[in-house]
Amino acid sequence: MKTKISIDPRNLPILVTLGLLVVMFAVGSVSFMGFLSPQNFLNLFIDNSYLLILGVGMTFVIISGGIDLSVGSALAFSTMLSSSLLQKSGWSPIFVIPTVLLAGIALGSFMGFIIQTFELPPFIITLAGLYLARGLCYVISIDTIGITNQFWQDAAHAEFKVFGNNFISPSVVIALAVVAAGIYIARSTKFGRTVYAIGGNEQSAILMGLPVARTKIAIYAFSGFCSALAGIVFTFYTLSGYALNGQNMEMDTIATVVIGGTLLTGGVGSILGTVFGVLVYGTIQVLIVFQGTLNGWWTRIAIGFLVFLFCFMQRIFEARKRKNKAKEKTLVPAAEEA
């Protein structure tokens, strides 16, 4: 007897992403000396921790059928706000961090409120949010603000040893905590399941009596929180605030979420997929660095190409599903009659 390995078709996009990651790593290890090292793998997390955090927030937004274009600017605003509060106002980090996070939540819930109450397209409202946050950066300062605060310096230089001689930074710990929380929220909380329900069919979700309005506002608030936290993590990385930080980052974030198998039509997706998406993104960057002769801008072309591939794949799955459904429809009445 043959045992057939059955794969849940919903997991297929994640498996494809994981396969892609493995292939890219294999290619890198064969082609370049020193590519296959635990530290090189950990560096993917260290260098992209802020992208992971943004990705978790964005995944929720996209699963609900929306989009958040403001994340890059919100990240920049968060770097500016924290650096100016630390340096210019001389606040203690104990107050700075909650203030910055609250500012992110406020921006997110404001956008969510308008999207929900006035039934406006998320695309256009978060676009306004993008402009608003970017402009507010310049209201704070046009120049770069360096951070000399001791806590920030410590956070930037701290290393946690893992598997022998390798290390991760505090940013990675924060990012992984957000990822773990994201997975838990998406899978096992009422809020998370409501997000999927809204993305599947908002009308049905309302008719089922789910708190759609509240959840939708909370989704954008959560994404705002993630952007603010990512901004703080970003300052651990750069030790400065700069109004031009995170330009085009919203596109990178959406791209990693899509590569992670989340459907842009909403209703389907996972946080774990996004993690793989971010790792693929990071691996492409590292591959291009190792390759040496290619211009760093090839990363963007490669990412664009991957987004195309994944969207194309999604369309094929959708078309096949529709065909199957059509088949069922023609079969079911006959079965009922019998």
Binding site: A128, Y131, L132, G135, L136, I142, N295, G296, G304
Partner: protein
């Protein structure tokens, strides 16, 4: 008051009122705003500057209007502007003596051709593969900037070819040369969409693609060509941008232009939900966006803070389009519909 009723019912009325209000504001608060001088045989002044600087946005808005009319969106135009500028600059070459590597018209033609190809790619993804417009164009918006940077070898290419400067800096009959390009393309688009059934077809596709298909309209082809046209507009816009600054910066050329173009279209009265479109409205919308920016500059506000004002404008305009918001405001004034 019948004439007023007729007037306010025309869609172009409100954008023009908005522009007029902005202009009036400047009349009182910005010294010398309307002063137009004649320098070196051409007109010179704030108003002329606004028209000149708005030209690239007007071109983008023309293409974007048709795309939005089909219920689509094209967020790749900013990147296409960068690609077009990059291709043109690389073909012309940064020769200090001003000798172009290839003939100027060849370089311009190649840049526009590449831009149309980019539009064709978008159109194929949306119409043939059936991707959502925002995602389909997101791909090129991400990759396009990379393509532009790779074309220019990640350097800013400076141009020293005098004749090429006419496009963005030259004057004809005292007016900026670029405005004639805009006017030409506008007339062409208006003729083709309003004097033939094509405009109606585009609107039909935007209102209900399925119904349009049953009515015998080849919705797929219309969507396809609308994106190709948007690519063409972005390509020409890129040439003007390149010629205005006589350089191609793959990183910054056209950065954020897609947002200004979308804003111009929405300000002009075309709804993001597709359907009826107003080309003239979009052109006026682009002028409003540029006037707003210039006004903010005139107050010595750092240009970057202009973004906050633009954000607020986007917010107000979208609120005005929201039915919920309108009924809420109507409720405030006691105009509730009796049950």
């Amino acid at each position: 008051m019948a004439w007023l009723n007729v007037l306010t019912r025309r869609k172009i009325f409100w954008p023009i009122v908005a522009l007029a209000v902005l202009m009036c504001f400047n009349l009182f608060f910005t010294p010398n705003f309307f002063r137009v001088e004649i320098k070196e045989g051409h007109l010179y002044g704030n108003v002329i500057d606004i028209i000149k600087n708005a030209a690239p946005f007007m071109l983008l808005a023309l293409g974007m209007t048709l795309v939005i009319a089909t219920k689509g969106i094209d967020i790749s135009v900013g990147s296409i502007v960068a690609i077009s500028a990059g291709v043109c600059a690389m073909l012309l070459g940064g020769d200090l003596k001003g000798v172009p590597k290839y003939p100027i018209f060849f370089a311009m033609g190649a840049a526009v051709f590449v831009s149309v190809l980019a539009g064709v790619w978008n159109g194929m993804l949306v119409s043939r593969i059936g991707m959502q417009p925002i995602i389909a164009t997101l791909i090129l918006s991400v990759a396009g900037r990379g393509i532009a940077m790779v074309t220019t070898n990640a350097m800013i290419v400076w141009l020293y070819i005098k004749p090429f400067a006419i496009l963005g800096q030259g004057y004809l009959l005292g007016l900026p040369f670029s405005i004639f390009i805009v006017a030409g393309l506008f007339l062409l688009t208006a003729l083709v969409t309003r004097r033939t059934a094509l405009g109606l077809f585009i609107e039909a596709v935007g209102i209900n693609p399925t119904a349009a298909r049953f009515a015998g309209i080849n919705a797929k082809n219309i969507i396809f060509w609308v994106y190709a046209f948007s690519g063409l507009c972005a390509g020409i816009s890129g040439l003007i941008v390149c010629s205005t600054v006589m350089s191609a910066d793959g990183n910054n050329a056209g950065l954020g232009y897609e947002l200004s173009a979308i804003l111009a279209v929405v300000l002009g009265g075309t709804s993001l939900n597709g359907g009826k479109f107003y080309l003239m409205g979009s052109v006026v919308g682009a002028l409003i966006v540029q006037t707003l920016t210039t006004t903010i500059y005139a107050f010595n506000v750092p240009p970057e803070i202009a973004k906050v004002v633009i954000a607020l404008v986007v917010l107000i305009v979208s609120l005005l389009q929201s039915l919920n918001f309108r009924s809420m405001v109507a409720g405030l004034f006691g105009k509730r519909v009796p049950a």
